[in-house]
Symmetry: D2
Subunit: 403 residues, 4 copies
């Protein structure tokens, strides 16, 4: 069968447009940041902005251009080593904890790296035949989704670095928090078998499937996110110092880290403030609480006489359309450990390392946050972090099993 | 209503007999051990035998004798501090990591402590009226079950200490491993709703409930435990050095700890041996593998193209009667994180700390081991350890989701 | 030349008597301690009493019996591994930090080990000819001196373990602190060239030589040791919290360890007590301060407007006979780093590891303590510990360079 | 007495010229470095270039402008917090380990800070009367000497960061190592009393005094520095793996850090290279060895059958004019611990923290290195580092006590 030029062109152009849009969003997010801002690695869990920009570029180079585009020449022989994150199968890589040491390549060179790969991508998509486009399409899909995940991390990582800076710099002085909804109350999920997980229509990461049937309920789910006002009540009731409210591991962390409030909060002359993308701001009591760890979320739930929902409860509730602010404000901790769904098996090769090897010691968060790029808010999305982590935009909603 | 003397006597005697039996089993397990053996704490996770013997005694003193038996005088004013394990509500306590420093009280004094409490218990049960017996009965039940849990730890902790001793001492030179069964094959659990968890008939720890309905299957479960022979095949296939078989956290531990074989294994002149309660023995290829961590169990399952079962799959399978060696050889890792069952809520007071505060970062094991005391082998029992732990008698069986 | 039987007998008997006396003193010191007391290793710097008793025995076996006594059969093939301390040249050895794990051999077996080696030593000395006695004499000399060093450590190590025990056990309830002298004042050492270090007459460790000439003075040296009364004044003046009084490394340790008083001190209901070999005692204000680190001694000296003396200043002062309590109460910190004397060179072989490899990062203490065995108090003796150490019987006297 | 305008002008101009020269040298050293290069902190011991530039500026602001120049307005209210290094007396300060997090102020703002302080300094020196100049002169002297010390650190710190960068960037591609001299042999220092330490003529840091008499010799001192060729012989003779050549603490570090060669060395295809200010270069066998720790220097000396000299031996030898390359190539380890000279007492106030509080746990190096600014090479200069440090330009020469 011959190529059908118009279809090919359409397909290629559509892929190029999608690619371009994601790449531009990354640059838009990096734009307010100086070369120094782009180098800093404020803790081993965070990465430099420059590294995010280069690593997402390497991802296309490594998994698409090098194996599938004839004549492509890698930009620099050492960049595969520098900008591989954790793909053992893709070869040796620079130690994660040392990313902040790499002052060179400079921001300018990373600009050039991105331009080099973008040009090669554009050219490849403009000239590929249908067969090659079939091969490239899923790689572009995972590559752009991958880059979008890093877009969120760019904001959380720079906010963490700025939160450690005594000068409290603002990423965007004009930043405003997204509007949230307060309706109050909860609703009942009656016992029933539901299919959860991604069914394969549209893009999803491999860890969102296989879709499978599960029994959910009866349980009541809160419509609203927990707010700063509620969190202050917990604090004023001695929440952070009452051992019996806490998981033992959590209380050890809270004690060692001297936690007395959510992350990025600062008390100044008796008033609580919080570091935001807009700089240091007075605490907004009606805003959903943010930058809390699983340990804190769990202690708060226990203090409330309630629980965190499981991830399947959350998903069924979200599908029912009864959750306020399910998306776009804060990721919501669930009490589900991050485990493979029944029958989950990672794909072969380096991309099989994408999600599977993290499936222990972490907990699932659902929804999405104010930093989540468009298109990543879906009911099956499984975000995951360690229970002591709190530098992401993380909050909670409650569940109640009492009848 | 008046006391009915005969019933009371019967009730009291039955309780006393149950109490006595458990207390004697503790002493039977400690009998082969010298005063030095009873002091050693070979790692922070383990406790001295003497401490186990005193702590289980304190448990009765603290939760039964002091609050409920008039005129009881504690044996020693400092023992509550020394022998409280982790009950924040029961007052301050000695640091867990320093238990091995407490050379005094001596073994003889701990003998006297046990005798003092035993005498008080016998007297209390011989003289209590029905109302008091009603109060004491559940405390004796939890106290004896608690002591039985420590009986298992006594064997695992001393084996760990002996495994670090270049002389390879034997706890019991005449010890023989329990017979295991090899039938081969697996069986199908079809999709179905099952009630799992403890229904309240007979004793169970609070974390075994509430009983609740859940959807299980379809999945195939192996009838047999994985053996040393199979484990050697994994080792010979490079299992311990192939990063892609491992969870990332697990591979980091395996690398740091230089794991090359299960715990307590030693290679001598090219032959594998293993430290057992009977001392150093040649490896028995047909025996179920033991002393493996969750990380290793998970890597083995991935290497096998299979999975570990969830704890509910295990429970439903065990209820079906189709598992060989479900009990009495090795605890079996499941891939279920240790979380509260829906609606679980710890009881008020110090005993509420018994299980609930550990419900994060650990994985569930099911079944029981060769060290488990009689009566603790039941299908709802939830044992739990951190994924890097391997000093317990831990093994695995496999599950398969492939159709 | 023929053997001269009588001389030989005298020589052999004298050596045997010296040997016997030291060995008995070790047993005398261990006598009050139970098997558990003899096992505990309360920190990596300390060792179990049982280990001290076996290690000093191994020293004779390793360096005297095995190489020089025909037909000697080592007591146990694994004891060389278990009881070698740090002699790389003498073969592999058990990790220092794990000495407390070795519950077996038991105290009884260590008794038997000591008896076995003692019998072999007695026999060897009773039958050796003059030539062999010439060979054995220096080995007995270093072996007994070595064992005496461990005798001191036995007391400091068990006191440390007891100080961590909430029950505050007493090593010897009848123990009384040695009398100290208070004369007051200081005296001048005018500038002059002195020979310091050991000149080879009588026994000395290799690090005490070579004797060499050095220029000392002018400096004033305090006649008395610093007392608890003076130390309390330092404490009450904020000594432990005034950063500018401290060496930077020292203040970091004091802060991390939360030091607020010397080691083994405890404040009970507003009164200071201190753990001694006699158990917990009220603080004796006139006693020399004990259990202070170099960092504390240095801060005290700075607070006093004075200095610690150098080790050569101390030695010249001690030779002049003007020091009160130079010996027998507390070792006295000097501000001299533990370095080799000019031209010092360790002997060849394993015994060359005795002192030389520690000559960095430690500071010299001079004099001797209440735990020092007879014969170890001499003006050239160089004791040495890390600047944060304080579990030995350590105190200070001051020097003053102001004219 | 009236001001004498001309003298004043001369004095002020001379001070301004000295100040300007030092400040310009700092900028000259920073010139090749990008904003990212100026941010990186590659280990806690190192500091960002931007921080060095700001800290040295703060030093003048804190100790000269604020207390002594009327009307001076600090550049930024938070800079005292950000750029105080370790002066407790000067107020709270940012954690040393977090200097690399401070992306803002930017390099441009630090430029402006330096310009602001420079302008204020110029103006103050142009207008001060004689009395004020008397006050300012010693502060300018210590401030410029302080800044020169940081100039050396700028080069060692950026070289360390570049050495961790897989791309091996060059600070100055045209850099050439300074010429060294090879004459061979050694010379005798006969026993004699010498005055060592600074006598107060010309500038010196407080730790260089008081000058005092000491007895030196007899000892032979090598004329030349140890070379890479000699170091390779040590390596090929198993120097890095022979425990008996090492101090115990040193061998532990060497093992943990997996040292197999001096710092910044890399073996590529069997050939040794070393990271220099000119980038990665083939090893020059005739060059003095560089980037070795005290532990390595000491092991090499022992392997050679010789010793490191003491600092007073070095000083007397240097005064005699018989040392080749005493200055300008590598600092030379001595075996002298960094201690106060007899009668040394730090000045009152914050500047008293300059040197005194480091006088423990470090060893003295003498001479100067290729990175040492002009005017800092003098026979009394006492440099000091911890024995495991090797990122400075550090080497050794040998001493011999054998007659």
């Amino acid at each position: 069968m011959k190529d059908q030029p118009e279809q090919r062109a359409t397909r290629g152009e559509r892929l190029a447009a999608a690619y371009r849009q994601v790449r531009q969003e990354t640059e838009r997010r990096a734009a307010p940041l100086s070369p120094e801002d782009q180098l800093v690695q404020s803790m081993p869990d965070a990465s430099p902005i420059k590294w995010h920009r280069a690593h997402t570029t390497w991802f296309f180079e490594q998994f698409l251009l090098v194996p599938h585009v004839k004549g492509y020449r890698p930009f620099h022989p050492d960049f595969a080593f520098l900008f591989n994150s954790y793909y053992v199968t893709a070869g040796p890589r620079h130690a994660r904890t040392h990313r902040g040491v790499v002052t060179r390549p400079s921001v300018d060179e990373v600009d050039a790296y991105r331009a080099h790969v973008d040009a090669a991508m554009e050219k490849a998509l403009a000239t590929a035949d249908t067969t090659l486009l079939e091969t490239l399409a899923p790689l572009i899909e995972i590559g752009t989704n991958h880059e979008q995940q890093h877009q969120e991390l760019m904001l959380t990582d720079i906010l963490h670095a700025f939160s450690l800076n005594p000068l409290c710099p603002a990423y965007d002085p004009a930043w405003q928090r997204p509007r949230s909804t307060r309706g109050g109350g909860d609703f009942m999920l009656a016992e029933g078998i539901h299919t959860v997980g991604h069914n394969g229509n549209g893009y999803a990461f491999d860890n969102e499937g296989p879709a499978h049937r599960t029994l959910v309920g009866p349980v009541r789910i809160a419509r609203d996110l927990v707010t700063n006002r509620e969190w202050l009540a917990f604090m004023q009731d001695g929440g952070y110092t009452t051992a019996t409210l806490w998981l033992m591991d959590g209380f050890a962390v809270a004690t060692n880290e001297e936690w007395q409030a959510p992350g990025h909060w600062r008390e100044i002359d008796g008033e609580w403030h919080t570091m935001t993308l807009g700089g240091l701001r007075s605490l907004d009591l009606d805003a959903p609480v943010c930058h809390i760890s699983y340990y804190e979320a769990d202690a708060f739930a226990r203090w409330s006489g309630k629980h965190l929902p499981t991830e399947t409860e959350w998903e069924v509730a979200a599908r029912s359309g009864q959750l306020n602010d399910a998306f776009g404000i804060v990721w919501q901790w669930t009490r589900s450990a991050y485990s493979p769904y029944p029958g989950y098996r990672a794909v072969e090769g380096a991309l099989g390392e994408y999600n599977g090897k993290f499936m222990v010691n972490q907990l699932v968060l659902r929804g999405s946050s104010l930093a989540t790029p468009e298109g990543h808010s879906r009911v099956t999305y499984r975000n995951f972090f360690y229970p002591h982590h709190r530098w992401q935009f993380m909050g909670l909603r409650l569940a109640d099993y009492r009848s």
